[in-house]
């Protein structure tokens, strides 16, 4: 039986078995989500708190919906307007919430490693919803589920991840997951947006988009943050689109049945041409959003099972948890 972790902090800590367990369970939740009655009782009676120190609409909505469909009581905390502004440290915030006995904490934070730090201080299960430039595990898992459903497998594929790799936690989690599942991973982007030393990790690095996309099965585009376009990292938006924006011509270098992915929100005309994004034969961007809810339900279900098991064991051993 796989996936016995207390927290989901990153793909780095997962095994192939863990990943398959999540994806298999998520498949069943995809079916559930397509029914009219979508509710289960996997998290019945449990409390889920979404702590977003960094703004997010879609990820927070996805986690909220996932929790509610599993029957949890979900609370959203917008941390930008809270006590953090009054000078409370991350650990104190965590301890305060911990005292309210939540069962699942979903945390997004702007600093790499902040979610790990917080997880050391609380007794519930912590789900990393993105920390700095470090990891965004549920995004990588939902991407994997999307790929597996589209391609029928999640190994021996050539996946090109394109764009702002340096600042992207999505890229990091994806390249770790795809590597673990024995795929060929390519990173494609301008050298100013490529993190140092990635070539040493056995990853192919390209600064030519066409070369990078050649014979790829999956083309994964990343969002380019507006603030990177001001001449610091790139000369201009239009030059970026010309050299690295995904259009039909560049996509033609990939396999004929290559799928196009994007974690959203998209900048049409910057990193991706609108017609590609809307091409139902190539783009799986809407499917990614759908898989997102299912994957998050699967992750929370598994973490809740582990939590129950742990508490059950503690009870039989006479400890109070």
């Amino acid at each position: 039986m796989a996936f016995r972790a207390r927290h989901l902090l990153g793909i780095e800590h997962l095994t192939q078995d863990d990943i398959r367990t999540v994806l298999d369970l998520a498949d069943s939740y995809v079916d559930l989500n397509r029914r009219t009655v979508k509710k289960t009782d996997a998290l019945e009676g449990m409390t889920q708190i979404n702590m977003f120190f960094e703004n997010s609409t879609r990820t927070q909505a996805s986690f909220e919906l996932a929790g509610k469909r599993l029957g949890a009581d979900v609370m959203n905390m917008s941390m930008q307007t809270s006590s953090v502004k009054k000078g409370e440290t991350l650990i104190d915030t965590a301890m305060t919430l911990n005292a309210m006995h939540p069962d699942l904490l979903v945390v997004r934070h702007q600093n790499s490693g902040a979610v790990d730090l917080l997880a050391q201080k609380v007794e519930c299960a912590v789900l990393n919803a993105g920390d700095g430039r470090h990891e965004h595990p549920t995004q990588a898992l939902l991407d994997a589920l999307t790929i597996r459903r589209e391609k029928g497998r999640i190994q021996r594929l050539t996946v090109a991840i394109c764009g702002d790799i340096a600042h992207s936690r999505v890229a990091r989690s994806n390249l770790i997951l795809l590597g673990k599942m024995e795929n060929r991973v390519r990173l494609v982007g301008p050298p100013t947006l490529m993190p140092a030393g990635v070539a040493e990790l056995g990853i192919e690095v390209y600064d030519d988009m066409r070369e990078g996309l050649r014979d790829a099965d999956v083309v994964m585009m990343l969002r380019l943050q507006k603030e990177r376009m001001d001449g610091g990292f790139l000369p201009s938006e239009r030059e970026y689109f010309h050299r690295y924006g995904l259009d039909a011509e560049k996509l033609s270098y990939a396999k004929d049945d290559a799928i196009v992915m994007h974690p959203g929100p998209m900048n049409r005309g910057v990193e991706i041409d609108g017609t590609i994004a809307d091409d139902i034969n190539r783009s799986v961007i809407q499917e990614q959003v759908e898989m997102g809810v299912a994957v998050r339900m699967a992750c929370m279900d598994l973490l809740a099972q582990n939590l129950r098991r742990e508490r059950g064991r503690a009870l039989t051993e006479g400890q109070y948890v």
């Binding site: 780095e12 991350l90 790499s112 490693g113 700095g132 470090h134």
Partner: protein
Amino acid sequence: MTLFLQNARLIDPDALTETVGNLIIDNGVIAAIGDKQAPADAKVIDCRGKCLAPGIVDIGVKIGEPGERHRESFRSAGMAAAAGGVTTVIARPDTDPCIDNPETLEFVTRRAAQAPVRILHLAALTKDRAGHEMTEIGFLLDTGAVAFSDVYHVVKDTKVLSRAMVYARSLGALIIGHPQEPILSKGACVTNGKFASLRGLPGVSPMAERIGLDRDLGLVEMTGVRYHADQITTSRALPALERAKENGLDVTAGVSIHHLTLNEFDVGDYRTFFKLTPPLRAEEDRQAMIAAVGSGLIDIICSMHTPADEESKRLPFEEAASGAVGLETFIPAAMRLYHQGGLTLPQLFRAMSLNPAKRLGLPQGRMAEGAPADLVLFDPDAPFVLDRWTLQSKSKNTPFDTQRMEGKVLATFVGGTCVYNAQEMPA
């Protein structure tokens, strides 16, 4: 009083020798070394074959006075130094307010009398360490400043720095620089590379150090000032340093004991006690630094003792304070280099005691008759597991917590007076 230390392994960093023998301390100085008999009235201390070396002269110790006494006071730093075998502490001026005028320097000099070891002071090179106007270098020298440094605030304005250097040269003052290109390294908290990339932390290229050093060395060549680079930590900076020395510039360089014993991977899962300035480097760089200490290209090893309270370290890595305490773990950490790094004890004490004393024109650091009896007696092999809560420092931010170490200080003497005596010692 006369002290007779018998049966000691005497470390001479000048002659680079170790000999077993006796040592007589009289009137605070080393009166005799070698195969001598105990004078009639002497107090005899049996060293049981353990090592006796000149006490450490540590350039660049942060003490929180004025401004941050909750992190470290002269008293606590002095006790930590004594427990660590550091007999001369060269205190840093990066306090709050910083030591940039004679009045503040007088204040800290007065406060420093509380410490059981010798304390000397650096003064800031520019007012408020802001890099715009030079400090009163002449007055500060008269008040006792041993050298001038803005510590981690690199003077960005080359013209300001060059004028300060020209002025300092006329007074024979020593300037201590922090070689780092400040714009390239802005916001970075680790060294660029695959580890930084995987952890998603902003990194700086090791080249920033060489660029900073190259600039400073150019100005040294231009002005002829006496210059010491506080920490050289990357192999790429070494050829520039070597060239400068070959060309006869009055240049020396240091490295912190942490950069000699730890590397970038020690940060692991965002352990903030390993967040240092400059950040920990690649293993190849660490090895190159050890070799450079061995060859003498790097002159000085320092602790870069930087106390930080728990609150400032219990934060996400990027936001956490930088720096580690190092006074009390100096010798055990250095013993890693003795046991595994291929450096001899005389080589280590040349870099920890003799060279810093020489650079500052102090009589300390020598195992010689007539030298001040500032000595450390230690067992280089004694094993222990470090518990950070046992440290004398007010701040407990050591990267060596829970680690297995070898090397214990048994006793520390300053001017012939025993200022630290571990319970293992019979005397």
